[in-house]
């Protein structure tokens, strides 16, 4: 579903942000990417979304190479950013309607939107409330609702639980679990080791643009992820 093949990004200032990344996220799988700030997590997501062009290698979404056919590739992926920033003067439903139309969904009714907003756990009274009055947790839920409405087979999330209170973060992760159970490929960058261990099917650790560790849920059950993470942050890149 999501595949990076020798994906490399070197910025104009010479910084090697991503160094020959190879990974694959299958349908119905949650992949959590860990790493310090500047490790290359967001660069990976930016490359998958064609926000920046790769220096080398390729990112594929559902078989489409992003750099060659970005519009076709992006039809198969939804994106939730660290801070879901929407149109503050629009209501939750209006924001949902706009991004649904961008995704090519022009057939949805008000009830359809309300159903999705209920699913993500937004309170009924917030449906027609202006988004500028929303808390961060509410905006993140709306971001997930946008991803649900798009109904794409893959979802990319850039530190979605950052800044959320524990309850909001737990609700968000539960929602992502539902999406995974629906068969979506979930690719998420995060600093949240606890939730990564709890929810991810696979976890990767990045350091200085390289994927230095990869573990499955089963492997992690036997290990202390925090210890692993700290160890990898201290040693030289190995992969």
């Amino acid at each position: 579903m999501l595949e990076a093949i020798d994906l490399t990004k070197r910025y104009e200032d010479g910084l090697l942000a991503l160094d020959h990344l190879n990974l694959k996220v299958e349908a119905g799988e949650t992949f959590c990417l860990l790493g310090a700030n500047g490790a290359g997590k967001t660069t990976t997501i930016n490359l998958f979304l064609d926000f920046i062009p790769p220096t080398d290698g390729a990112a594929h979404i559902n078989g489409f190479e992003v750099a060659c056919d970005p519009l076709a590739a992006k039809k198969h992926v939804a994106y939730v950013s660290e801070n879901v920033m929407l149109y503050g003067n629009f209501t939750a439903r209006q924001n949902l309607d706009f991004f649904a139309r961008l995704s090519g969904r022009q057939d949805l009714s008000r009830d359809d939107y309300y159903m999705v907003l209920r699913r993500v756990g937004l309170q009924e009274k917030a449906f027609e409330q202006r988004v500028k009055q929303f808390s961060k947790g509410m905006r993140q839920k709306l971001g997930i609702a946008i991803a649900i409405v798009k109904d794409s087979p893959a979802v990319l999330l850039d530190e979605p639980t950052s800044g959320l209170d524990p309850k909001a973060a737990a609700e968000l992760m539960a929602l992502l679990g539902e999406l995974r159970d629906d068969g979506k490929a979930i690719f998420m960058s995060t600093h949240d080791l606890f939730r990564a261990k709890e929810h991810a099917d696979r976890v990767g650790i990045m350091k200085e643009g390289r994927l230095v560790m990869l573990r499955t849920r089963e492997e992690l059950a036997e290990e202390d992820l925090e210890r692993l993470y700290l160890d990898y942050m201290e040693v030289e890149a190995v992969a």
């Binding site: 979304l49 629009f90 706009f98 946008i146």
Partner: protein
């Protein structure tokens, strides 16, 4: 996709009340401008009735142009009376209103409102269209949801333009409907056609201003920086380039000072009269004065044509430089279409010279025989709309070219825009 983005832009303008506020501003500005200019036109019309010559007066004076309500241009200068005598043509009274404030402040006609005020509003509607999406973080979400950069630029442009243009267009249409019942301003079919062309050109000009601002919004990543650049562009295009173009043209094109022209005319007068007196003294039975007057006018016309040629060259040089700014080009072409331009004033002066030469034999004859004169009415022809538009090709081209450059800049900038 484009329409979805445009629709959101329009909805945002409606939600925030921006378009409604613009509509109120446009109604007030256009209405006030129309009221003030119509009152001024009425005054000039009354003054024209006062100075309009009777059949026994060898005076050429053109009535005020009703379209000067929309673009006053040089209508004041064109409303002066030209008193024709056997010696020369004296410029007499004017129809201009006596309100000295008109001299101190810009005339609030529609041309000014479009060229300066609505251009500024167009700039303000467009300056943050792209960069505010980036600042807000929604640009990433739009791109991630499958909108191409070109579609985002086109959709944002279209939506912002509709949010800006529709309120202004409705306000203008409202006042045009009320033109006759409220102001009593009667326009001919030709006048309406000219007005329609003026408003069409105004729409194109405002679209160009708006597009320049949108292009600037795609060149910067912060709305505050884009605002400074936009205001700088507005001042440059609307004020600095047109004003400095006229000053530069003045340095490039030679025009004899009016004092020297007047002195030359008096020299011709003195010389010819001296010859006539000498001839009369030499042969008292002769009548050399009619020939002297004729020669004075012939030489005077040569001076006038030379000065008109110099002024024409100055006007052409100014117009060529002014075209560097769409505001300058719009000014030139609008006054041309509405009949109050430099070219129309030059045409009127030519008409006055023709009229003078047509009545000159009668003038001499009545003078010599000392009988009650009867002169034909002065009926100046106005340049046709087709001729005006044909002559304005370069100005219209300059406005369109500025728009094409802005559109190209917008699409090149957005294709390279760092949306992160």
């Amino acid at each position: 996709m484009i329409w979805a983005i445009a629709r959101r832009e329009v909805l945002e303008s409606l939600t925030t009340g921006r378009s409604a506020l613009l509509f109120v501003i446009a109604v007030l500005l256009l209405g006030t401008g129309l009221y003030v200019m119509d009152r001024d036109y009425d005054t000039r019309r009354e003054n024209y009735d006062l100075i309009r010559p009777s059949q026994d007066q060898s005076v050429a004076v053109a009535p005020p142009n009703p379209l000067s309500v929309f673009a006053r241009g040089l209508d004041d200068a064109m409303g002066r009376s030209f008193e024709i005598s056997v010696i020369n043509v004296e410029i007499g009274g004017s129809q201009a209103s006596a309100n000295p404030l008109f001299g101190l402040f810009p005339t609030p006609d529609w041309l000014y409102l479009f060229r300066v005020v609505f251009a500024l509003i167009a700039f303000l509607f467009g300056f943050d269209l792209i960069c505010s999406e980036k600042e807000r973080g929604t640009l990433k979400l739009m791109v991630a949801n499958g909108a191409s950069r070109g579609e985002i630029a086109a959709g944002k442009w279209l939506g912002g333009w509709l949010a800006f243009f529709v309120p202004v267009a409705i306000a203008a249409a409202l006042w045009l409907i009320l033109l006759r019942p409220l102001f009593g301003l009667a326009l001919s079919g030709d006048d309406w056609a000219r007005l329609a062309v003026f408003l069409g050109l105004g729409s194109i000009y405002l679209a160009v201003c708006y597009t320049i601002a949108v292009a600037l919004s795609a060149l910067f990543h912060r709305a505050s920086t884009a605002l400074v650049a936009t205001l700088f562009a507005w001042v440059l295009l609307v004020f600095v380039i047109p004003s400095s173009s006229v000053l530069v043209a003045r340095q490039l094109a030679h025009v004899q000072p009016l004092g020297l022209v007047s002195a030359e005319r008096w020299r011709i007068f003195g010389s010819e009269m001296m010859k006539a007196f000498e001839a009369s003294n030499a042969d008292p039975s002769s009548s050399p004065f009619e020939a002297a007057w004729g020669e004075m006018h012939r030489q005077g016309d040569m001076v006038s044509e030379r000065v008109a040629g110099e002024l024409g060259a100055l006007a052409r040089t100014s117009a060529a430089l002014v075209r560097l700014s769409p505001a300058g080009a719009f000014d030139v072409v609008s006054t041309g279409v509405l009949g109050t331009s430099v070219a129309h004033e030059a045409q009127l002066k030519l008409e006055v010279r023709r009229y003078k030469n047509a009545i000159l034999p009668d003038l001499f004859s009545y003078r010599m025989r000392d009988i009650e004169p009867t002169y034909p009415a002065f009926t100046p022809r106005r340049m046709s709309l087709a001729d005006t538009l044909a002559a304005a090709g370069a100005d219209i081209g300059a406005i369109v070219l500025a728009g094409a450059i802005a559109i190209t800049t917008l699409f090149v900038a957005i294709s390279r825009y760092d949306i992160r």
